[in-house]
Chain length 366, copies 2
């Protein structure tokens, strides 16, 4: 039986478990703590920054993959040196870990992006602001996610605290029409499969809703997004699922916002809405197994995140009011603003499907 080790015990690892069960894959999770979201498959609890812990965990695994992108490069490289199949590998993960390197590499691949610059000082930022209408997005090169490590600035000294730690990334504030995401999976032997382009709606820098496929997207846009994601996956040597977060500019151009090298919130719809979910595909890809069909099971899927908590009483209410909506709970302790679960509706028509998904999600409003 093939064995996949997942570093990190969050909801992404949790949602890999059903896919592993179906495919007869043994899944082992290195969790940060007891009672984690993926606790059912946790074979070890420990610190993913500790090389000995990770080496012990990796023993006997056919592939090592991730719930998050925070494992230090030194640990990743030592794992590879010890013979582990690390997927995605450290060379690829580096671009997900360091936004400055990511921008440089995407530039070399000819991928369209917002204007950006490496900022070493307040003077650098002053120049960038002057060149971009007095406002910019500043991001820490490392460690940011879900709106953390991101700031909109209009003063050259607004990033002084971060600059004290090192260089940051400045990007033009793109006046986009909307945000999109393109998911693709790639296996080490090269096969790639992409899902249809989706629209993502962010609130407070965090994904709130996803519409699959992206409404009103023309065939040229769909093709461009698909090709772009494949170029990035191949160019960066990604194995497993790659999520490319995109801005759709007013002129229709697609600009790369962020990359994630793992199953991604924008692909959760695929559990209920696709022939092959992103979690099943990720396991197949990291094991270098043949990839699955990514076609939709219905014309429309709508995914809505639930934050804070999913009390059992609310789950029952949602199931009673919307018997065709799928509820996914992450088994986490309640915490304000934390992703606690999601709901997915699939249907024939956008308005009705959005209505049903929102009606279910509303049951979790406190």
């Amino acid at each position: 039986m093939a064995v996949v080790g997942v570093i990190g015990g969050g909801q992404l690892a949790r949602m890999m478990i059903p896919a592993a069960i179906a495919l007869g894959i043994e899944i082992r999770v290195l969790a940060e703590a007891r009672g984690s979201s993926a606790g059912l498959a946790a074979t070890q609890v420990g610190d993913y920054r500790d090389l000995d812990t990770v080496l012990a965990f990796a023993r006997g695994c056919d592939a090592i993959t991730f719930d998050h992108e925070h494992v230090p490069q030194a640990v990743l490289r030592a794992l590879e040196a010890a013979g582990a199949a690390v997927r995605p590998g450290p060379d690829a993960l580096l671009y997900a870990q360091d936004k400055l390197l990511m921008r440089e590499r995407l530039g070399a691949l000819g991928i369209a992006m917002p204007d950006w610059a490496r900022i070493e000082s307040a003077d650098d930022l002053a120049i960038f602001l002057t060149d971009h209408g007095g406002r910019a997005v500043v991001k820490t090169a490392r460690g940011g996610y879900d709106g953390k490590g991101v700031r909109v600035v209009d003063d050259a000294h607004d990033a002084d605290d971060w600059l004290a730690e090192g260089a940051v990334l400045a990007e033009e504030l793109v006046m986009f029409q909307r945000e999109l995401a393109q998911l693709v999976a790639r296996r080490p032997s090269g096969e790639m499969r992409a899902w249809p382009l989706v629209e993502t709606v962010q609130r407070g820098g965090v994904c709130a809703e996803v519409f699959a496929p992206a409404p009103r997207a023309g065939s040229a846009t769909l093709r461009a997004a698909d090709e772009l994601a494949r170029t990035v996956a191949e160019g960066l040597g990604v194995t497993g699922v790659l999520a490319v977060e995109l801005f759709e500019a007013p002129d229709g151009r697609l600009l790369v916002n962020e990359l994630a090298m793992r199953p991604h919130n924008s692909g959760h719809f695929s559990i209920d809405g696709s022939r092959t979910s992103q979690f099943a595909q990720h396991l197949r890809a990291v094991l270098d197994w043949p990839l699955g069909d990514t076609a939709a099971v219905a014309p429309v899927s709508v995914m809505i995140n639930v934050f804070g908590s999913l009390p059992e009483a609310s789950i029952r209410t949602a199931l009673a009011h919307q018997p065709a909506v799928a509820v996914h709970a992450y088994g986490k302790d309640a915490r304000p603003g934390r992703k606690a679960g999601h709901v997915t509706a699939v249907g024939d028509e956008l308005d009705d499907t959005v209505y049903r998904a929102r009606a279910a999600a509303t049951c979790f409003d406190s």
Copy 2:
């Protein structure tokens, strides 16, 4: 978090795990042995016939349900007396455990069945054979499944070995057109939801293929099967999933062959082919949660069982040849004739969907 305890660690318990993960339900399995199919969720290994073992297992569970119907009545009743929510309860399970009682009860409910008789002796059997053209099906009242405990006889002494143990059931040999199965779920508070009628193809007394919905079934047949299953579920007080195996007689009448009070092989298609799978529905039903929509996600689903083993190389071959077919492995040791997994294809059209499912299943022929 709601807790469901499942007695038995086979593939039915295994396939409840993904449903529990999605719904945020904690699932605990009392397995017969280490390394069972549902081992990932096994919290205890022990003998389900031992009352102390089962009582200890049941502590802290909001509902107790089953992977099989073999738990002795004395254990079931002691569990209930200790305050456990046993679902289905012992009164219902009795009819799944004893085919003579089942026939009597179905008769009282006015359900159509093959002609049958309680046989206490070779003389009884001789009379039954004379009345039914010299041939009959004889079944042990208890303990039979998957073709075991079933025998076609043409001599009054063909069941002497079984009669030495007690009364048996004789049934007329029905010259049916085909076999069908109707699944329904019922929760303690009364809500019921049925899936569309399916056709099952048996080989050697074991389910080989399932077509959902049953091809060429008219609306009268669909309605009759739905009503029949609801009558049985309510009449027998079943909670959870009930599978009613049916013969379709040459004149179109539906005759009840067997009952199963748990998720059933004829409902495996629902994992990939229905909005709510039989495993999710079973968990919802035994917890008395609102039931889910049983509508199909595609016009046709075809499920084919795989026997013996699912070697990893064959899984890869099947996935490569049929990227849209779902492969389900049960994580069991190889054994000739044993159900080791299944494949499901969903599609718009029967012939193509059957072709794809069989093409995938063929990869496991040794």
